[in-house]
């Protein structure tokens, strides 16, 4: 496919490229390696050493502590449920709307686009949003965490643009064959949009997984809290200065162990990190191979 000739310049560039990217990858990933290492270290070592990749004394106490009750399992389950159900909802809403808005001759298209862009920038804020959800009777239900974010205007616009880029010849031939719009979407457009669906599915999924604020706002029952709420609370508790007068609590409150904090971070991050590698095959080149030409 690609020419096997490489000039000296190109070879040099390649070498430089590999080194530079490797360096960047290391700088990016090492702090997380520290997190993992720290979660397997003793508290004493964490206080003493600022940064390390391999603990001197290994300890799984932090993980034992976290998993000794079912709280964390439950919150992981909640997070998974919200992520999966949420992403499916997102894709359903976004892809349908993006597709119909991608038809250039749709009446009212301009109006809808303006409406969407406007809503991206002007928002009522936290309180009115909460009141709407309350009126719908969704408080304390998972729908309250999923529905208000069903469509990201940002994602919608990009997906729509992508649909517009598809060769028009494709749909024409499908329509000539008697397909309805649904059919065109389902059978032709979506299969060709795998990188797009993978990308934005990932974006939405990560958004759900990392989201703690909606859960805090709408879920009153602490048994319904997703993992990120737990995680954030633990991290914030560690941040409290010892005598911070805003933390006016009697002797009962001690910040969580550093190791526990790191272990929760690892548990909260590793699952979602694993999603992208699985999707990478959809980013392979040549997905548009075989597009109808003439």
């Amino acid at each position: 496919m690609v020419s096997k000739h490489r000039t000296v310049g190109e070879r040099l560039f390649d070498g430089f490229n590999y080194i530079a990217l490797a360096a960047f990858a290391l700088v990016a990933a090492l702090p997380f390696v520290y997190m993992i290492a720290g979660s397997f270290a003793t508290e004493a070592e964490l206080t003493e050493r600022d940064f390390f990749l391999i603990p001197r004394d290994w300890s799984i106490a932090a993980y034992q502590y976290i998993f000794s009750s079912d709280t964390i399992f439950r919150s992981i389950g909640v997070s998974v449920f919200i992520t999966v159900a949420g992403t499916l909802t997102n894709l359903a809403f976004t892809l349908t709307m993006a597709y119909s808005l991608s038809r250039k001759d749709l009446m009212g298209r301009r109006l809808f686009m303006n409406m969407i862009i406007f809503s991206m920038l002007f928002s009522g804020g936290m309180i009115p949003g909460y009141l709407v959800v309350k009126e719908l009777g969704l408080i304390d239900s998972y729908a309250a965490v999923i529905l208000p974010g069903a469509i990201s205007a940002f994602n919608l616009i990009i997906i729509r643009n992508f649909f517009q880029q598809l060769p028009p010849g494709l749909e024409e031939s499908a329509r000539i064959d008697g397909c309805t719009e649904l059919g065109v979407l389902w059978r032709i457009v979506l299969p060709l949009s795998k990188p797009v669906i993978a990308t934005f599915g990932l974006f939405y999924a990560v958004g759900h997984w990392n989201n703690f604020f909606s859960a805090l706002l709408y879920l009153n029952d602490h048994k319904k809290w997703p993992l990120q709420v737990m995680l954030r609370e633990i991290v914030m508790l560690s941040q409290l200065a010892v005598g911070d007068l805003s933390n006016m609590d009697p002797n009962f409150v001690t910040p969580p162990d550093q190791a526990v904090k790191m272990a929760v971070i690892v548990v909260g991050t590793v699952p979602i990190l694993c999603v992208y590698p699985f999707l990478q095959k959809h980013f392979a080149k040549g997905v548009l191979l075989g597009s109808i030409k003439g």
Partner: protein, 302 residues
């Protein structure tokens, strides 16, 4: 004789049906709560509610613009936004293009997975780590730079280094994640065009310039336009965590100001007013840049 619009409605019936769920979503969750914007013109108190809160017209805007700190806030916000656009925005594009040039698939996948990890690390942790690395009291990077260059740079407190530090933090944290969308775009580039270019004898650089870049240009332009909509938004949490008494003169931006004045003191209206101001600027920038993009023959937002 049916009116033209009814004909089109009938013809595109399915399209409108597909459109319906999304439309409902926007109406219910975006437009219904939009009355909240009017809070900017009130002295809104949560318990008292919208209908009973006192109206004050443009008072908050007046207070905001006449605040002696306004110029400083504007300058800080603007400069950070510009730095972000100039230095951070191209970074994921460049890295994506570099990744695209890799031949060893396993290396490529490994690098891709590693560079996007920082996106998942909470800003609180990033701030703590930044302190550990840069503290003049023994921070690893601080010592390293001091040894290599002899310069004792206190990134954490020196106002001159605040903006570079913030941008470097953002670049470390978000570049990898940002490459994902460009890699997806690159994957959709028509392979046949590459082959044609090679047959024509194009070098790598020429292939980049004439095939690759044009192919992803529409994604770049869209992202740029959308980014401009949030132009005056700086990452509140990041700035808040990295601000201290010694660099506040350059660190204070609209977002942190809103936090201190608005949230801690419950002045919802004031923070909404400032948010409204930012939104207006954002809308102007979006439509302006969209128009500009179209003049250059790009697709634009619509």
């Amino acid at each position: 004789m049916k009116p033209a619009w009814a004909v089109r409605l009938r013809r595109d019936k399915w399209l409108y049906i597909l459109l319906l769920p999304g439309l409902l979503y926007f109406i219910v969750f975006k437009y219904l709560p939009m009355w909240g914007v009017a809070i900017a013109f009130q002295n809104f108190q949560p318990f008292v509610g919208f209908w009973n809160s006192e109206w004050v017209g443009f008072e908050h805007f007046r207070v905001f613009f006449s605040n002696p700190d306004f110029t400083r806030l504007l300058r800080n916000t603007f400069l950070l936004a510009v730095y972000d656009l100039v230095f951070f925005f191209p970074a994921p594009i460049i890295v994506a293009l570099l990744l695209n040039e890799l031949r060893i698939a396993i290396f490529k996948r490994l690098v891709q997975t590693m560079v996007y990890v920082p996106h998942f690390i909470s800003m609180v942790i990033v701030a703590s780590m930044t302190y550990v690395f840069l503290t003049p009291q023994g921070g690893v990077l601080y010592e390293l730079i001091a040894q290599l260059t002899g310069a004792k740079i206190n990134f954490l407190s020196d106002p001159d280094w605040f903006r570079p530090m913030i941008i470097l933090q953002i670049m470390w944290k978000e570049t990898g994640w940002g490459t994902i969308i460009f890699l997806a775009a690159l994957a959709s580039v028509d392979v046949e065009q590459y082959e044609a270019a090679i047959v024509d004898g194009a070098s790598r650089l020429q292939r980049l310039w004439h095939v690759t870049l044009p192919a992803i240009s529409h994604v770049i332009v869209i992202l740029l336009i959308l980014r401009l909509g949030n132009f005056l938004d700086n990452g509140f949490e990041q700035i808040f965590l990295m601000t201290n008494s010694l660099n506040r003169s350059v660190a204070d931006v609209f977002d942190t100001y809103v936090y201190f004045v608005g949230i801690t003191q419950g002045a919802f209206s004031y923070s909404t007013a400032i948010g409204l101001f930012k939104s207006v600027v954002g809308i102007v920038l979006i439509y302006g840049s969209n128009w500009l993009a179209k003049r250059f023959g790009q697709e634009g937002l619509y």
